[in-house]
Amino acid sequence: MRKLVGFIVDNRDWFSLTFSIALSLLLLSNNESPDVQILRGKFNSVLSVIYAPVNWVQGIGTLREENNALRAKAVQLSLLNSELLQYKTENERLKAMLDYKESVGTFLLPARVVSTGLSPLMRVVNINVGSQQDVRPNLAVVSVDGVVGKTVSVGPATTVVQLMVDYSFRLSVKLEKSGTTGIMHWREGDIFEVWEIPKATEIEVGERIITSGFSDIFPPNLAVGFVSGIIDRPEMMHKIAVAKANTDFTTLGHLFVIRGE
């Protein structure tokens, strides 16, 4: 027994390494376990408290800039709104003529980014709403500019949002003019790609990209981005539209979770 203890003490580095690797692998294999998710939710609640002063300082620094941008946006939106009101009236009249049943409405839950985590890779953000506000996994998250991502892990007061710039994120989108649908995913930097576009489809650079609605998560017609280039090689079965997102993922502040009413 003494020999065994002596052996372990002499080789404590190796034993510690083996133990830490085993424990890490165990954690990796239980990544989706509800206990781990709950624990993470609690840690994130603590993190949001720690981050509060940082957010406050950041908020002051960007307040004037944000205020000016919001004023400009408000003017743009009020102009757009008056135009949309006309469309709404016309739309309602046409719907009444067709005896159209009203679709389910959506409810926007405002949220604020409290942290972007500590990982060297930035692919998620934490927002300050959670299950207490009826947030659940797989809800669409948008900003005033467009789609941002979806909720993946929900704690009582915080929620983790998977951003569109995560490589594993896929979004079913529609090119507004042609009406063709495709799958959008992040490529690098601020560049995205829309795959599965038929060769015959005419795509224009600058064309708006919106959500297709072929998803349980994202409602149709949410602004996503615009086409910035086209890849069409003879050996390819489909075209690829190179795209840019409307959202600037480096300056996320105020977001909205889309919740069915």
Partner: protein, 163 residues
């Protein structure tokens, strides 16, 4: 007492730095890894065991606070890094400077490879170019900061504590 408390406090400072500064320093979704830099310095001074403990515990905290990341990956890579860099403790005088520096750079590169590979394994298959680009950028970004720190506290001058 102070000498023993110092690593703990420095570890907390590294974590705090990672929390507070990483947002400002994010480029193309990548950030410098201050915790890894701390683990490298700590392992060179205190050896493999301390490196494993620091790497594992700080990696675990990092994973808990980075929802969305793979739970257990940071403790795995950082404890391996702590162990390997700890093997270099006190060897600077017995090795050629080039071998010594190549060794810790190589260990950090291995750390980044495992970390990026596990996170971007689908990219590795579908688009190797982007994978290698991300890997190199993530590693170089942290190397810039360890390079700056080297000018203040060179790794070659980090010696084991007197017995």
């Amino acid at each position: 007492m102070v000498d023993r408390a110092l690593p703990f406090l420095t570890g907390l400072a590294a974590l705090f730095l990672q929390m507070m500064l990483s947002d400002f320093l994010t480029i193309r979704g990548l950030r410098p890894d201050f915790v890894l830099i701390f683990v490298v310095y700590l392992s060179l001074r205190w050896g493999s065991l301390a490196g494993i403990i620091a790497g594992f515990s700080l990696g675990l905290v990092e994973d808990f606070l980075s929802a969305g990341s793979l739970m257990g990956l940071a403790p795995l890579t950082k404890s391996i890094t702590g162990f390997l860099v700890g093997r270099l403790q006190g060897r600077y005088n017995r090795m050629s400077p080039i071998t010594f520096h190549a060794a810790w750079v190589g260990i950090m590169m291995v750390h980044f490879f495992i970390f990026i590979y596990v996170n971007y394994q689908s990219v590795y298959v579908t688009n190797p170019g982007i994978f290698w680009q991300t890997y190199i950028f993530a590693a170089v970004y942290t190397f810039i900061f360890i390079g700056i720190l080297q000018m203040i506290i060179p790794l070659s001058k980090v010696k084991p504590p007197p017995k």
